[in-house]
Amino acid sequence: MPITYTSGEQVEVYRFSIPVTIGVPLLALFLQAFVPLRFPRFAVYVDLPLLVTIFFAISRRSPIAGLFTGAVIGLAQDMLGHNPIGIYGIAKTVVGYGASSLGVKLDVENAGARLLVTLGFYLVHSAVYFTVARGLVNMTQRWSWGHGILAALVNGILGVLLYFLLDRFKQRT
C-alpha cells in the first residue's frame, strides 16, 4: 500500500536501500562517538542516532519498522558506552514507534512540523531514558528542564537540516 490518506491528503510511504538502511545509522553512531573528542559539548547536546531513528520512522510510516529501527539503533548506542545494554534501546524503541505512528497520521514533510516532532520526541526520549536509568538500573540522574529544552532545540534545528540531506536517499514505494 504505497499511499495512505490522512485528512484527505496523500501521505507517501518511502523505503530505503540496504546500504542506506545500514550505513546511515552506523555513520551516525560513529560520528556520535568520534566528534566529542574534538567538540566535547557535542555529546551533551546532540543525539545523532535519535535523529536518524526519527527520520527513518516518520519516512517509513510503519510502527513495527519504526520500533525495530529504534531498538537496533538504541542497542548499538548502548554497546558503545559502559552502562547496561538496553537503556537507549528502550528509549529509542518508544521513540521509533511513536514517530512512525505520528507519521501515519500527520504530514511531517515540512520544516516546521519536523522541528516540532524532533523537539517533542527528544523530550520523550530523555524522559524514558531518565525513568529507565533511575528506576531499573539505579543510576544517579538529575532532570534539568533548562538543559532538556536547550538540547531539544539544538537537536530540532540540526534534525531539520539533516532530514533534508537524508531526503535524497528516499525511494518511493
Partner: protein
C-alpha cells in the same frame, strides 16, 4: 480473538520488544551486582564495527595535520626555535638543581625506610573514540590485550590522572577507559597540604568531587589534590587536580569540587601504566669516599711519573699511612699546614653518619668520635637529625706515621 490481536498487533509487538529489553537489563544489573567482569560478545561486535573507522579517521587527521604543520605552515618556526633553545638552557640549569634535590630526597627516603610505588612500564596510546553520551564518560584507546593491557590499569597523561582501563578487547586491539569524571568511578585521593584523604568521584553532570572529607576540616580552594594510592590502581602522588569550590555536603561531609589536572574533554594521547613496582627507595651508594680522592678531583693534578723500577721501594710508603697510598694526581699538603684536617659538605646525622648511610669523609681508618658542628660552629645536641647540608669536621688523625707536628707524608707524586 484474532481481530483483537490484529487490531492491537503493533502495540503487542511494542510491548514484547520492550519487555525483552527490560528482562535483558534486569539480567545485566544482577550480573553487575555479582561482580561479573566478562565482556559481552555483543559489545565486542559493536566496538569491532566502529573502532576501525575511528582508527582510520584519527590516522588521516594526524597525517593531514602532520603534512600541513611539518612541511607547509612553518610561519614563526625560527623564532619559536630560538625561544625553545633559551628555554632548554634554563631547564638544564633547573634540571641540575632538581637532580641534586632528588638525590637528597632518595637518601632521606632510604633513611626513613620509605616504600614507594614506581611506575616501571607504560604504554602510550591514542584516544580514538568516546562513549558518545554525557551519561557514559568513557574513551576508547588504540591499544588492547595484544599490547599487554589489562583491566583496572591506570591511565594518565603528563598533567594528571585520566581514569582506568575498564574493558580490554583483543580483536580489534582497543580498550575502553573509564574517566574519573564518570559517576561510577572512584579514586583514592589526598589533599597535598592538609593531607586529608577522600574518595574522588564523578557526578551525573560530569563534575569531579572529593567525597568523605569531614565537614569540620579546613580545605582551601586552590589546594592540589594527589592520588593517595589507596585504591591499588593509581600509584601514590600523581596529580589529580585542584580544589575549586568547598561547600557543605550531606552527612557531615564536605562537598569539594575538583578541577581535574588533565583535560578530560580533549584527550589525545595517554599513558597506560602496565607495570608498577613497590620497592624501597635506594640511594646511590658510591662506596666510601676518601678525602684524598675528593681533593684529587678538585685540585690540579701533577702528571704521572714515567715508569720506574718496580723493585724500588717508594719513598714514604709505610703501613698505616693512607696518605702515602693516595691515587696518582693527589696534591700533597703544603709544608707546615695542619695535617689531615678535612671538611666535606654532606648531610649528616648524629654520630657523623651521612644521610646516605655511609661514613662521612675521613682520611683515617679509625677516627676518634666526631663532633658535628654547623657552619657557625654551634655543636648539635646528641640525637638531633640535621637534614640540611652541614660541614662535618673531624679530628686530626693520630697515627704512628703521622704525628701532629711531623712533616707531611711524601708520596709518589711529591716533588723531588
Amino acid at each position: 480473538m484474532e481481530s483483537v490481536l490484529g487490531r492491537y498487533r503493533n502495540l503487542i509487538i511494542l510491548a514484547g520488544v520492550l519487555f525483552l529489553q527490560v528482562i535483558g537489563l534486569a539480567v545485566q544489573v544482577k550480573r553487575i551486582g555479582n561482580e561479573e567482569k566478562d565482556t559481552r560478545l555483543i559489545r565486542i561486535w559493536a566496538v569491532g564495527a566502529v573502532a576501525p573507522f575511528e582508527r582510520a579517521l584519527v590516522w588521516m587527521q594526524n597525517s593531514t595535520s602532520g603534512v600541513w604543520h611539518n612541511y607547509i605552515f612553518l610561519r614563526g618556526v625560527r623564532s619559536e626555535n630560538r625561544q625553545l633553545k633559551e628555554q632548554i638552557e634554563q631547564m638544564r640549569l633547573e634540571q641540575v638543581r632538581l637532580s641534586e634535590d632528588a638525590a637528597q630526597a632518595r637518601r632521606l627516603q632510604n633513611l626513613l625506610a620509605f616504600k614507594e610505588q614506581f611506575v616501571s612500564k607504560t604504554v602510550a596510546a591514542q584516544v580514538i573514540g568516546s562513549g558518545g553520551s554525557d551519561l557514559s564518560r568513557i574513551v576508547y584507546i588504540d591499544k588492547g590485550e595484544q599490547d599487554g593491557l589489562k583491566r583496572d590499569m591506570a591511565v594518565i597523561t603528563a598533567d594528571g590522572i585520566v581514569g582506568k582501563v575498564l574493558q580490554v578487547f583483543k580483536t580489534p586491539s582497543v580498550s575502553q577507559v573509564l574517566l574519573i569524571s564518570d559517576q561510577s568511578s572512584g579514586v583514592g585521593a589526598i589533599l597535598e597540604k592538609s593531607r586529608l584523604q577522600g574518595v574522588l568521584r564523578g557526578t551525573a553532570n560530569g563534575e569531579v568531587v572529593l567525597e568523605r572529607v569531614m565537614s569540620d576540616e579546613q580545605v582551601q580552594p586552590g589546594e592540589t589534590v594527589l592520588t593517595s594510592g589507596g585504591d591499588q590502581i593509581f600509584p601514590k602522588g600523581l596529580p589529580v587536580g585542584t580544589v575549586t569550590k568547598v561547600g557543605s555536603g550531606k552527612d557531615l561531609f564536605l562537598n569539594i569540587k575538583i578541577k581535574p589536572a588533565a583535560n578530560l574533554s580533549k584527550l589525545e594521547e595517554v599513558l597506560v601504566l602496565v607495570e608498577k613496582q613497590e620497592r624501597q627507595a635506594v640511594a646511590e651508594d658510591q662506596g666510601r669516599i676518601r678525602a684524598a680522592d675528593i681533593l684529587a678531583q678538585r685540585l690540579p693534578s701533577v702528571p704521572d711519573k714515567p715508569a720506574t723500577d718496580p723493585n724500588a721501594k717508594p719513598v714514604g710508603e709505610a703501613p698505616g699511612n693512607p696518605a702515602a697510598n693516595a691515587k696518582p694526581g693527589t696534591k700533597p699538603a703544603a709544608p707546615g699546614a695542619p695535617p689531615a684536617t678535612k671538611t666535606a659538605v654532606t648531610p649528616t646525622r648524629p654520630g657523623g653518619v651521612t644521610a646516605a648511610g655511609s661514613v662521612p669523609v675521613a682520611i683515617v681508618p679509625k677516627p676518634k668520635p666526631t663532633t658535628t658542628s654547623t657552619s657557625s660552629g654551634e655543636e648539635k645536641p646528641e640525637g638531633a637529625v640535621d637534614l640540611q647540608p652541614s660541614i662535618t669536621e673531624q679530628k686530626p688523625p693520630v697515627s704512628p706515621a703521622a704525628e701532629p707536628n711531623s712533616q707531611p707524608p711524601a708520596d709518589d707524586n711529591s716533588p723531588h
